[in-house]
């Protein structure tokens, strides 16, 4: 559990960090909270030549709400997001997820940008951003682009981010009236990677039917993914237990879990359904005004 040798820099400003990433393209790895990267270094599964520690970069940990969206700096910690007043007031999906990531140490150190850029298939934020139809801002020395979450998470540990880019911000659309979100996760013990998790963000029409629904699943495929079949079941439907169960089954059918210590494939699929069901119940209750 001793890492191989690497160099370490701690650039003072974003421009410096981006310049280094460009100069050392392919050799450098960005260090944010470190809670995913350091274990990989210690196991020598990652052996980058250079670590670029971005802790000194100004402004990357801000959480700001505009008229359209919530903008979360890439270095915002899970804890900061969980405790943010705006998140608490209007983004229950994010609050659910942030409060259940890892353990207190992970939440104090780990960051949303680090988690998304690392793209562990069991991570919580990717499923959340997919359900919420969020986007991710990638910046390089040559400019900035915004990638929808649904196009960002490509495969296990693989994202749309380029080696010269830094994930500077995560954006989540501001939920309208009569909308609700929830995150449901089953893990074997506190701090474990999820066995299965479901993120739901939905809104109700004036007639009480589901106007729009986003469903993201974690830990039951090679990467987090949008349960589009479940979303289709939900859209325009009347939110009943029967509809939730059909949507949950559709989500499970779209999952592609692999057997491991968390359980065999049929169990994980069943948990994908169960977590979707539980998240749907809570999201609808919240859309109807429950807290």
């Amino acid at each position: 559990m001793i890492p191989a040798q690497f160099d370490y820099v701690r650039p003072p400003a974003l421009a410096d960090a981006l310049r280094i990433l460009k100069e050392r393209e392919g050799e450098a790895k960005v260090l944010s909270g470190g809670y995913s990267l350091l274990p990989l270094l210690k196991l020598r599964m990652a052996q980058p030549a250079l670590l670029v520690d971005i802790r000194d970069l100004d402004g990357l940990d801000r959480i700001v709400e505009t008229a359209e969206e919530l903008r979360i700096g890439g270095r915002a910690t899970h804890r900061a997001i969980h405790e943010d007043a705006t998140v608490t007031a209007r983004y229950p999906l994010l609050r659910d997820a942030a409060g259940g990531i890892g353990d207190p140490q992970v939440r104090n150190w780990g960051t949303i940008g680090g988690s998304c850029a690392h793209a562990d298939p069991s991570a919580d934020w990717p499923a959340v951003l997919i359900a919420a139809r969020g986007s991710l801002v990638c910046r390089s020395a040559d400019g900035e682009r915004t990638v929808p979450a649904r196009a960002f998470f490509l495969d296990t540990f693989q994202t749309a981010i380029e080696p010269t880019e830094l994930l500077t911000e995560v954006r989540v659309p501001r939920p309208g009236d009569r909308s609700g979100g929830a995150y449901a996760k089953i893990e074997r013990k506190a701090g474990d990677f999820a066995t299965a998790a479901a993120a739901v963000q939905l809104s109700l029409a004036d007639d009480g039917t589901i106007a729009e629904a986003g469903v993201g699943l974690a830990a039951v495929a090679e990467t987090a993914f949008a349960a589009t079949d479940a979303e289709a079941v939900l859209r325009g439907g009347t939110p009943t237990e029967e509809l939730f169960r059909r949507a949950a089954q559709a989500a499970a059918a779209q999952s592609r879990p692999a057997a491991d210590g968390h359980g065999p494939v049929d169990y994980k699929r069943a948990m994908a359904a169960e977590m979707t069901l539980r998240a749907l119940r809570r999201a609808v209750a919240r859309a109807r005004g429950a807290t």
Partner: protein
């Protein structure tokens, strides 16, 4: 902590702090302030680091080891292989169980993560880089992970190094009890309950891993080993026998130990390699395991495949017990059981019940796994015994339609039957089993819970209530029966009273978090009236402490605790003579009260222990030795038999299969209590360590012998989040033979808790046709059972 402690009324003042006072632990300030000194904190001048190359294969021939690249790594000084050790005859070493294990292999690796070569370097980082640069050429061999397959005739013989009459994977066969009587009893029973119960392999997972600093002084020809060991003296003797270094030239020195639980009793190859490296370089060499090495290579616990047949009458009177067990020991029997007990004290499996006939047989088996069979807070296989009998009794109750509490009450050994002779030969010293179970039932509201369960079951909800009424057997042990490698299992204490009335006591045992610095001081305070805060307790330096076998199997209080009391009483006897001299009275006319010798009938004529201590150095009578000290090597006349009754309530989530422990009441009886707060802490920790294997922890292997739980990602140690709010209480039934009436307690809860939880889960599911579930009872296991039985959320 909200609980108030009124175990037994203390006879000393709080200032003195003798038996029964909930003294705060004297070791805690340094731990809380981060000032503990663990082995990794110790840095010696010029120290080198050792790291270990480990096998990726569970069974393979080593065709060659190429260390040339490793030797080019800056800072790497040496690479040690099995061939190097073979030249010195050090490639094998004895285990405490009388088997042997490799320090480093010369030809064949026997388990995944086995030590293959050692790197010595001038920094920890260089050592790790050296490990990464060693090239080992392996040729994989057939792997045997299943002990039943290991016993099949065509199985490869894993240990051809054993004698010609031992070319089998059966290590030993052990029997206890009366086979004919058990067979007859079962044949005449109305009902025979049979079940296969697997108690999986688990790991102690102490917070501090193992490690040492070997420091060979080539000028003085003296070896100091700073070490994480629970048994420093036994280790010194083993080191001397193996290395041929005279025993007086070896000093084992412990520091603070971050948990042992049995895992720090064995000698691991890393220790020996560090010694060899220090002998070779003449410099101190540090070896510290990392977490994965600790989980993958150190000795394991349990791994018992138990088959039980329990006979009973139709109305629930138990008649006889027959037990057949396959014990998976990995590739070497590295257990630390007493030498006459290769399966530990597993034959205490008749438990708390008056079973007229019993027969137990156990076969130890080799497989391609790391050495197994180390105790893990289990008092020498008592966990396996208690789990088996408590599951069997519960199955019997359910099958006969008798309430599990009622069936236990009906079959308990009754208070007037003590001392009780069990069918497998143990003499239980004391107990009151019905009282403990009654108390647990009252606290938890047993009858009301049964009503609630019936209502919930009618609604389709799954709730279960489980009982475990365990009997422990601790304090090994009497020298006529107990030894390890021939060394009798006494233990010792030496007390010196300083002229100004404070004291130091040294013991042969070794705290790893048990609170010895507090409790042993309290024993002396009790016996001599010297405030516990004026007494230093020192352990773990073999140059100064009296010889003892160390701390494991809940033996410290039954053995060294008794030695402490007896040594203190020897001092009190000498103090009487000194007091008689000072008071110009006849010793027979003095009486001892509250730390003073006073003249009978003249209570104002007295000498305090402090005054007497001063006189021992300043004014002792002619003809008497100066000083005030004593030593005692205590050979216990019998073991002690703590017991308890636990009741657990679980709710099962039908959607996920998750088991939630809603309540857990633990009523323990460990005889007279030295420090009720420390006992309660032991129980709390032990219960959590019982919850762990019941619901979470297991080390499993795939067909190739790959460890499936080699990191904390997959070895699921429960956290505070999983742990219910334990509700503890006690009854007190003193040991009749221990000088303080005390019994051991360190392992009671770990031993007693798992079957209470397993019984509760099965109780919730019995009406669905579920009879037994092996631990750990994971959500996926429960979910599969529910689906099979047609239960959906």
């Amino acid at each position: 902590m909200s609980e108030t402690y009124h175990a037994q009324a203390p006879t000393t003042t709080p200032e003195v702090g003798g038996m029964g006072h909930a003294l705060k632990r004297r070791e805690d300030p340094r731990f809380i302030r981060g000032k503990g000194e663990y082995i990794e904190d110790v840095m010696l001048p010029g120290m080198l680091w050792l790291d270990i190359v480990r096998s990726p294969y569970a069974h393979a021939t080593i065709r060659g080891i190429d260390a040339s690249e490793a030797l080019k790594v800056p800072g790497v000084l040496a690479v040690i292989t099995g061939r190097d050790l073979e030249a010195a005859g050090l490639h094998w070493m004895p285990t405490l169980a009388g088997d042997r294990q490799m320090v480093l292999p010369t030809d064949t690796v026997m388990y995944q993560a086995q030590e293959v070569a050692a790197i010595v370097a001038d920094s920890r980082y260089a050592a790790a880089d050296g490990v990464a640069a060693v090239l080992v050429d392996y040729e994989p061999l057939p792997v045997v992970v299943d002990p039943f397959k290991a016993l099949e005739p065509d199985a490869p013989v894993l240990r051809p190094d054993r004698g010609p009459d031992k070319q089998t994977n059966r290590i030993w066969h052990w029997e206890s009890g009366d086979k004919a009587a058990a067979d007859t009893a079962l044949a005449g029973s109305d009902v025979v309950i049979s079940e296969d119960i697997y108690i999986p392999r688990i790991h102690v997972a102490s917070i501090e891993t193992c490690g040492c600093i070997a420091d060979w002084d080539p000028v003085r020809e003296h070896l100091t080993v700073h070490m994480t060991t629970q048994a420093p003296h036994a280790i010194r003797t083993v080191f001397s026998l193996v290395s041929k270094i005279p025993e007086h030239k070896i000093r084992i020195k412990t520091h603070d130990i971050g948990g042992g639980f049995g895992g720090k009793v064995p000698v691991y190859p890393g220790y020996v390699l560090a010694v060899v490296a220090s002998l070779t370089t003449g410099k101190p060499v540090k070896w510290i395991e990392d977490r994965s090495e600790n989980l993958q290579a150190d000795s394991f616990a349990r791994d018992y495949h138990v088959h039980c047949d329990l006979g009973t009458t139709k109305d629930g009177r138990l008649t006889g017990l027959r037990v057949r067990t396959i014990a998976d020991h990995g590739y070497s029997d590295a257990a630390a059981d007493p030498s006459k007990f290769p399966a530990g004290l597993f034959n205490v499996i008749t438990g708390s019940y008056d079973l007229p006939a019993a027969f137990v047989e156990v076969d130890g088996v080799y497989t391609n796994k790391p050495p197994g069979g180390v105790a893990y807070r289990c008092s020498f296989r008592v966990t396996e015994a208690v789990h088996s009998i408590e599951r069997m009794v519960d199955i019997a109750a359910h099958q006969l339609g008798i309430d599990p509490a009622e069936l236990r009450m009906k079959n308990f050994i009754q208070p007037d039957q003590f001392p009780y002779h069990s069918a497998t030969g143990w003499e239980y010293d004391s107990g009151n089993y019905p009282a403990a179970l009654r108390k647990a039932m009252e606290i938890i509201g047993y009858d009301e819970l049964r009503r609630e369960q019936a209502e919930k079951r009618a609604r389709g909800e799954l709730m279960g209530i489980g009982i475990s009424s365990f009997t422990e057997i601790v304090g090994a042990g009497p020298s006529h029966t107990f030894d390890i490698l021939g060394i009798k299992m006494f233990d010792s204490c030496e007390i010196r009273i300083h002229p100004t009335g404070s004291a130091i006591a040294r013991l042969g045992v070794q705290s790893q978090g048990q609170g010895h610095e507090t409790t042993f001081a309290q024993i002396i305070a009790e016996e001599l009236g010297i405030p516990a805060t004026d007494i230093t307790i020192e352990e773990g330096d073999t140059d100064t402490a009296p010889y003892g076998l160390g701390t494991y199997a809940s033996r410290s209080t039954p053995t060294a605790g008794a030695a402490t009391a007896i040594a203190a009483r020897k001092i009190r006897d000498k103090a009487r003579l000194l007091a008689a001299h000072l008071l110009e009275a006849n010793p027979d006319d003095l009486e001892w009260t509250n730390g003073k010798w006073s003249v009978k009938g003249s209570p104002d004529r007295f000498k305090t222990i402090q005054e007497i201590a001063f006189a021992a150095y300043t004014n002792h009578p002619q003809g008497m030795e100066a000083g005030l000290e004593a030593v005692d090597y205590y050979d216990p006349p019998n073991l002690t038999f703590p017991f308890g009754s636990y009741i657990c309530v679980v709710d099962i989530d039908k959607g996920t299969g998750q088991v939630k422990v809603r309540r857990f009441v633990a009523v323990d009886d460990c005889g007279n209590i030295i420090n009720p707060m420390i006992v309660d802490g032991q129980i709390h920790g032990g219960l959590t360590m019982g919850l762990a294997p019941a619901l979470y922890e297991a080390i499993t292997y795939d067909e190739q012998g790959n460890n499936q739980a080699g990191t904390f990602l997959d070895y699921l140690v429960p956290t505070a989040m999983e742990t219910p709010a334990w509700e503890t209480d006690k009854t007190i039934t003193p040991s009749p033979h221990h000088p303080l009436g005390a019994k051991g307690v360190g392992e009671s809860a770990t031993v007693g808790a798992p079957p209470a939880i397993a019984n509760a889960v099965v109780d919730a599911l019995w009406h669905l046709g579920v009879r037994h579930i092996d631990i750990p009872i994971t959500p996926q296991k429960v979910w599969a059972i529910l689906r099979e039985k047609g239960v959906t959320a």
